[in-house]
């Protein structure tokens, strides 16, 4: 007998005492927990996102769509980044005011190439206010997972309120499990040494989130539909 059949057989014998139950799964579990915690207006939800991001030591900026290129240029200049990696579908206007050298993540480029780059700018799939989390799903304005991992400085643009949900349940509803997802809450951190929190072990040590409101140089689809 192969191990698959062996294990499945063991499972079935182990459950011999359990009465048969055909309740469909959607009725088997009571989901009387909350879809979101608290009753907030749209503005309050965005405010909560900003607070929770900052609480986990992300640096939060807020601007309108028109101001975005200036804000991004300012962040890169303040950091003194020599180069910034951009995903293939990043709206070109976003970095129109920045004079930092742009690096594209190409199929042939290696992780060693990426390791030379200081910063990365991406959009996101959505952000979760209650937990202060941004979620990337590999959409055109986010690129491959590695580009937001190897550089030390990640700037993530979140369109508010369109890309903001209140809670984890609302986030999962909107995400596609078939795509590789990365949920990011603050910069990389460890508490392994006497439970002292230290930012930045292996991922980006600095996370800056730009909350962009209003119209302007922007995309429309939360899942990365149209490309620039």
């Amino acid at each position: 007998m192969n191990s698959r059949d062996l294990i499945l057989g063991r499972v079935r014998r182990a459950l011999a005492d359990v009465p048969h139950d055909d309740t469909p799964y959607d009725q088997a579990v009571d989901r009387d927990y909350l879809r979101e915690h608290g009753d907030r207006s749209v503005e309050e939800t965005v405010e909560l996102l900003a607070e929770n991001l900052a609480d986990y030591r992300a640096i939060v900026h807020r601007c309108t769509g028109d101001e975005l290129p200036g804000v991004l240029a300012g962040i890169l200049a303040a950091r003194g980044s020599a180069s910034v990696v951009v995903p293939p579908g990043l709206p070109p206007e976003w970095l129109s005011a920045a004079d930092t050298a742009r690096v594209e993540d190409r199929a042939v480029s290696t992780v060693y190439d990426l390791d030379e780059v200081e910063s990365v700018v991406t959009g996101c799939a959505l952000a979760v206010a209650e937990t202060g989390t941004i979620v990337l799903d590999g959409g055109p304005d986010q690129g491959r997972r590695r580009i937001t991992l190897v550089p030390d400085h990640h700037i993530c643009v979140v369109r508010v309120p369109g890309q903001v949900v209140s809670s984890v349940p609302q986030a999962l509803e909107r995400l596609d499990p078939a795509r590789p997802l990365t949920w990011i809450s603050g910069p990389s951190a460890t508490s392994d040494i006497e439970l002292d929190r230290v930012e930045g072990v292996h991922g980006p040590r600095t996370l800056e989130v730009v909350l962009v409101s209003g119209d302007g140089p922007d995309r429309t689809d939360a899942n990365g539909g149209d490309q620039a």
Partner: protein, 493 residues
């Protein structure tokens, strides 16, 4: 370099004895468990529907376990459809063999690892090392344990027993053996230590061709695997290598994508006391051009189906490895994780290890007793595992023996060795209580000889009295006192 094995561990009381006398260890542990316990209570209090989330988590897991065969088959189908390859391993040896063969097929001789309880449980690092394959742990705490040739002592913070000075010494001494040395003049500030680990490991991440991980959850419906972490080492191992091998216990399944909404709320708050851990990665098979292009899932049983067969003990399989029960346990706080002789320490380890491994060894037979049954572990458990109930159930099995399942076969266990004296004492007590004359005589004799009683017992009773003083025998048996004083009315004495 190995995380060490637990083979030949002494029974819990003996191992705990050393820990309790180690002041540094106790101070490290006390600081850590109390810090995390306070933070956790705050994080949990933030969500008003904690009780409902806990109940839903329990029910999702119970439902999954009840139909585990169906969900395993569904998971296999969905992972395969998404481009992954599923392997089944009945025990640790088989799982290790599968991983070795998979690594061999890549032609590589090193792997980078995400912290994983499952691979620790099967001793994968040691087996890989014996086969000439270097396995690098990349979680900071695991790195400390691995470089220190030590053993993990906590599920979440494996190096919880080490303070910053000890960690500095380990890094300064060992890093150069395995790659980039620690920087000159390394101090013991956490930031500097973390930086040393970052530099040491980055060269390994960038050149790694094979990653090995576990998973916190597997979604049957979609074939999605989930890894929850903080440092980014998980993301490195899950996305940079060309081949990813995930070794996961069969109980880690949840039926639907929606189910994650429960556990992604309860797990971070219960384990690290955060609203959300810094990084969560989910992947479904392989994605063209992004991340590993070859994905293997190794599903391991290794005692889980035996645990499933126990109607009381099976609830241990609900565990999502948050480690909250360790941090509130008064016994863990004093004894430390090593005393449990397993990669699963603390209250959950005390019920999981004797079920996964059976109660034949001395250490496993002693684990159900490594508890004061205070119930704090049950209170904090985010999936409501009634750990005290299972502990009592396993104590009965150790002392009385009885039916159990081992490697899929029903067996009748004999009482564990070493508990013969306890059974004899209970039999003697039964006899004495049903023979009042003998009881009276015995009690009087005991009272009259009380000056000569030792404080500890000789022979088989020594183990019992090594951890307690014998109760003092009263000057006069109660029944004599009652008769002499007419129930206390005559003298008021």
């Amino acid at each position: 370099m190995s995380g060490g094995t637990f083979v030949g561990m002494p029974a819990f009381p003996e191992a705990a004895h050393d820990a309790v006398n180690n002041k540094t260890l106790r101070a490290n542990l006390r600081h850590a468990t109390h810090t995390i316990r306070g933070k956790r209570a705050k994080a949990v209090a933030e969500v008003s529907d904690w009780a409902q989330l806990r109940e839903a988590g329990k029910r999702i897991k119970d439902h999954t376990l009840r139909h585990l065969d169906r969900y395993l088959v569904q998971l296999e189908e969905s992972v395969t459809a998404a481009g992954g390859v599923v392997h089944w391993a009945a025990d640790a040896d088989e799982a290790n063999r599968i991983v070795i063969d998979l690594v061999r097929m890549t032609g590589e001789s090193e792997v980078v690892k995400v912290k994983s309880m499952a691979t620790q449980e099967i001793g994968l690092n040691e087996v890989l090392e014996a086969e000439g394959i270097a396995a690098y742990e990349t979680d900071l705490a695991e790195l400390i344990v691995q470089l220190g040739k030590d053993r993990p002592s906590h599920i979440l913070v494996p190096a919880i027993h080490r303070n910053r000075g000890e960690i500095r010494d380990i890094f300064a001494r060992e890093m150069s053996e395995w790659g980039r040395p620690a920087p000159e003049g390394l101090t013991d500030t956490p930031a500097e230590l973390a930086e040393a680990a970052r530099l040491h490991l980055r060269e390994k991440f960038l050149r790694a061709k094979v990653g090995v991980s576990g998973a916190n959850f597997m979604v049957a419906e979609t074939g999605t695997l989930v890894v929850v972490e903080s440092e980014g080492n998980g993301r490195m191992c899950l996305t940079l290598p060309e081949t990813l091998i995930s070794v996961v216990g069969i109980e880690k399944i949840v039926p639907t994508w929606q189910d994650l909404e429960v556990f992604l709320q309860t797990l971070p708050r219960s384990s690290t006391a955060e609203r959300m851990n810094p990084y969560t990665s989910t992947w479904t098979g392989t994605t063209d051009g992004d991340g590993p292009q070859t994905f293997h899932l190794v599903l391991i049983d290794n005692g889980r189906t035996d645990t499933l067969a126990d109607e009381v003990g099976r609830q241990a399989l609900r565990c999502i490895r948050c480690s909250a029960c360790l941090n509130v346990c008064p016994v863990y706080e004093r004894a430390g994780g090593h005393a449990y002789g397993s990669v699963y320490p603390g209250p959950i380890g005390a019920i999981l290890s004797p079920q996964l491994r059976g109660t034949a060894s001395e250490i496993d037979a002693s684990l159900p007793y490594a508890s004061s049954l205070c119930g704090a572990c049950y209170e904090v458990c985010p999936v409501a595992i009634d750990i005290p109930e299972v502990l009592v159930h396993l104590r009965e099995r150790v002392v009385e023996g009885g039916p159990a399942t081992r490697e899929g076969t029903k067996v009748v266990l004999k009482p564990a060795k070493g508990h013969a004296a306890e059974r004899a004492a209970m039999r003697a007590a039964r006899w004495a209580f049903s023979h009042p004359g003998a009881l009276r005589t015995g009690q009087r004799l005991a009272s009259r000889t009380r000056r000569f009683h030792p404080r500890t017992l000789p022979g088989p009773g020594r183990a019992w009295s090594a951890t307690r003083d014998l109760p003092a025998v009263p000057a006069e048996p109660f029944r004599d006192w009652w008769q002499r004083t007419n129930g206390g009315k005559d003298t008021g004495k």
